[in-house]
């Protein structure tokens, strides 16, 4: 019977199922080891001998973490884009591939991997190949300085803002390389439009942030977030409203998002700089765009909306209504009871969750009900762990707020894409040079004046 089930699996199933089994076994072993006190000396020994705490290893781990974060983010934002635009268009969007179609963007990514990867005749091959890499590199490098939570950032540079804008400039180089090396007039047009656009909008972008820098007194992003601590009204969005608006508009243009997406305007110049790309190279552009969307939203949030700061103090509110929550757990005190608890309690909960389904739905095999119970148990356990983590670790709280605010802005960017048409290149440039830059300068002067005056008055 087992062999028959095995032969009915697809290739993916044959890979995933043993992997899951192996991982489950390893996890169980690890937990056992933790409980019995074996793991701790082993890890200490490894860290000492292999100097795993050394700089190079930490760097590799950090780089890996950043990359591994960027790719699922791109998938999630791709999925949001498909679903949100669909909902605004009064249609359903993808809803077959995963629960509510959640895996559809991931499958788009895999599909792109499977496509033929060619270089067009006459293309400049090294430049053609490197361009997507550079375009992908720019936003990913920007993740390095982003403070996701108190203490959770790649590097707390005191020049973070400057580094950030330098990295966005790097993206332009990649776009121009892509357009020029494709040997295609459409790509060339797209690349030049992109270059003109991004360079023009760098200026209002940076100028609008200077006001924030003046108020915060530091270029470090972590420092800027800490300067917004206090109450909800201390956020720079309320102290620099014009800067906020200018920054958001300029960020939309920097990310090549509608209404400023003329470098990849697919009703005019097919796909702009990415016309001749296919396969994973196009995948890089595709991912880079979504990672850039996340990055720009994150930057807006960090600079103007308090980063990982909560708008209201949840602990204080709960305290007011009399709910005290002391999340400090001491699992070691349970001793062997912990092991029994770990083995018995989940089974009981799974069975307890499975029985209602088995009773309610006639004809449901008991093992299927067990699986449903198991999935629900996972959801409950994840929820419980999350709540505990939120309550006991500041990091998790901060991270959740940061993600929530960032994704709110991501949804706003997608919303703009669904609704607005595109501007023309001359209108775009006119808008940047004739409206945004004077507005940013005005903002700058007013802020500087206000800082000086307030300083003089309070001295």
């Amino acid at each position: 019977m087992l062999t028959r089930s095995w032969s009915r699996l697809t290739l993916a199933g044959k890979v995933v199922l043993p992997l899951v089994a192996v991982l489950g076994g390893l996890t169980a072993l690890l937990m056992l080891g933790v409980v019995l006190g074996i793991v701790q000396p082993i890890t200490a020994f490894l860290v000492e001998t292999l100097s795993l705490n050394g700089g190079l290893v930490r760097f590799v781990v950090a780089a890996l973490a950043v990359l591994l974060f960027a790719i699922p983010t791109a998938f999630i934002i791709g999925f949001l884009e498909l679903k949100v635009i669909a909902f605004m268009n009064l249609r359903l969007g993808p809803n077959r591939v995963g629960p509510w179609g959640a895996l559809s963007a991931a499958f788009h990514g895999f599909k792109i991997l499977a496509k033929e990867d060619f270089t067009p005749t006459g293309a400049d091959v090294p430049v053609f190949t490197l361009a997507p890499v550079i375009v992908f590199l720019a936003p990913v490098l920007g993740f390095l300085v982003l403070p996701f939570a108190p203490g959770l950032f790649g590097q707390d540079m005191n020049l973070a803002v400057l580094y950030f804008f330098a990295m966005s400039g790097l993206g332009v180089v990649g776009l121009i390389m892509a357009g020029w090396s494709s040997f295609n007039k459409y790509s060339l047009l797209g690349a030049l439009r992109a270059a003109a656009q991004i360079i023009s909008y760098e200026i209002p972008l940076t100028l609008s942030v200077v006001g924030v820098i003046m108020l915060a007194g530091t270029l470090s992003l972590n420092g800027i977030v800490l300067q917004q601590a206090g109450s909800f009204l201390d956020w720079f969005a309320f102290r620099q409203p014009l800067g906020f608006v200018i920054f958001f508009i300029a960020a939309t243009a920097e990310g090549n998002r509608t209404p400023f997406d003329l470098s990849e305007a697919d009703s005019e110049i097919v796909a702009g700089y990415a016309t001749e790309y296919s396969g994973m190279r196009f995948g890089f552009f595709y991912f880079a765009e979504y990672v850039n969307v996340f990055l720009l939203s994150a930057l807006t949030v960090v600079l103007f909306l308090g980063g990982w700061l909560a708008p209201f103090d949840l602990g204080g509110v709960l305290h007011q209504i009399g709910v005290a929550f002391d999340p400090r757990l001491d699992p070691g005190s349970l001793g062997i009871g912990l092991l029994i608890g770990l083995l018995v309690v989940p089974l009981l909960i799974i069975i307890g969750l499975a029985v209602p389904f088995w009773l309610a739905k006639p004809g449901l095999a008991f093992w299927k009900a067990l699986i449903i119970g198991f999935l629900l148990f996972n959801v409950l356990a994840a929820g419980a762990v999350l709540l505990w983590a939120v309550a006991s670790f500041e990091v998790v709280q901060g991270l959740l707020w940061f993600m929530a605010k960032t994704y709110a802005f991501v949804v706003i960017l997608v919303w703009m894409r669904a609704t607005l048409p595109r501007v023309r290149i001359d209108q775009l440039m006119g808008f940047a040079w004739k409206w945004l830059i004077p507005a940013a300068l005005l903002n700058l002067f007013v802020t500087a004046l206000a800082v000086v005056v307030v300083d003089a008055v309070t001295r």
Binding site: F87, N89, L90, T419
Partner: protein, 277 residues
């Protein structure tokens, strides 16, 4: 126009936000099937009226009116004198597959020119009842019909069509797809040789080689003049120490290759001057 620039954009965005939470216009197809209007022209099928009779009168008007001449019809006239491109409506399904061949100029066996003999449908009714008139068990029905009648007569296929509700064209398609189903009566003699490992050890391979050479054919086909056929058989492991070779259903005891070849040549010669039996 608005005095404050940007208000139009905000209004537009407010509208899409509102739409995001409203009922969607998508119809989720396999779960929800929308009704097709009764006048829908997209289904290429002949319609039946409420008594089960075909509505098509074969008046040929559709074929004449078609601007791209893609409709073809054929059959026999009512006195069975000649073939024409019109005929009783039940034959329409049968004709459609052959129309492409007809246009190529190649001669097509015109099965409808044989008046179809009346069939004793008792056996067929029993088979259909046993299979619960289920069109999904078509292959079983056809195999049992062939066992009962020796081949699949046209009348039997029509009876099955009436009984199961499957289209005649579909049944015809199934019947012509499988090699072991015959639409014509089996003619001539049949040499059947089992090729299971036990029989092969006992000389079936040499028997097959000899027969193939004598009949100038291959396993599964008949000799060029159609007198003798060579088909595989199944002994189901019941062979008594010698390979199973049957001639017209009777088990042969002498399976020496020379003896088989001699008999095969004799049978061919016997049928030769008479033409096809």
């Amino acid at each position: 126009m608005n005095l404050i620039p940007g208000v139009g954009i905000i209004k537009g965005m407010a509208l899409t936000l509102l739409r995001m939470f409203q009922a969607k216009a998508t119809v989720q197809y396999p779960e929800v099937v929308q009704d097709i209007s009764p006048r829908h022209r997209g289904r290429l099928q002949l319609l039946y009226d409420e008594y089960g009779a075909l509505k098509c009168e074969t008046c040929f008007q559709c074929a004449q009116a078609c601007p791209i001449e893609c409709i073809d019809m054929g059959g026999v006239d009512t006195k069975d004198r000649f073939h024409v491109h019109w005929g009783p409506a039940e034959q329409y399904g049968e004709r459609r597959e052959e129309s492409a061949l007809r246009r190529s100029g190649r001669p097509v066996p015109d099965r409808t020119s044989e008046p179809f003999a009346t069939l004793d449908t008792a056996a067929l009714d029993r088979i259909l009842a046993a299979e619960d008139h289920d069109p999904r068990r078509m292959l079983t029905i056809l195999e049992r019909t062939q066992e009962a009648y020796g081949y699949l007569p046209v009348a039997a296929l029509k009876h099955i069509s009436h009984g199961t509700g499957a289209w005649y064209a579909e049944i015809y398609g199934t019947a012509s797809f499988y090699g072991h189903l015959r639409l014509e009566p089996a003619t001539g003699h049949v040499f059947a040789v089992c090729r299971c490992p036990a029989c092969t050890f006992r000389g079936a391979g040499r028997a097959v080689a000899a027969l193939e050479a004598a009949l100038s054919t291959t396993m599964g086909a008949s000799s060029p003049e159609g007198a003798v056929r060579l088909v595989p058989a199944e002994c189901h492991g019941a062979s008594p120490g010698r390979a199973l070779v049957t001639l017209d259903g009777e088990v042969r005891h002498d399976i020496a290759p020379e003896a088989l070849a001699r008999q095969a040549i004799q049978l061919r010669a016997a049928h030769g001057p008479e033409g096809r039996a």
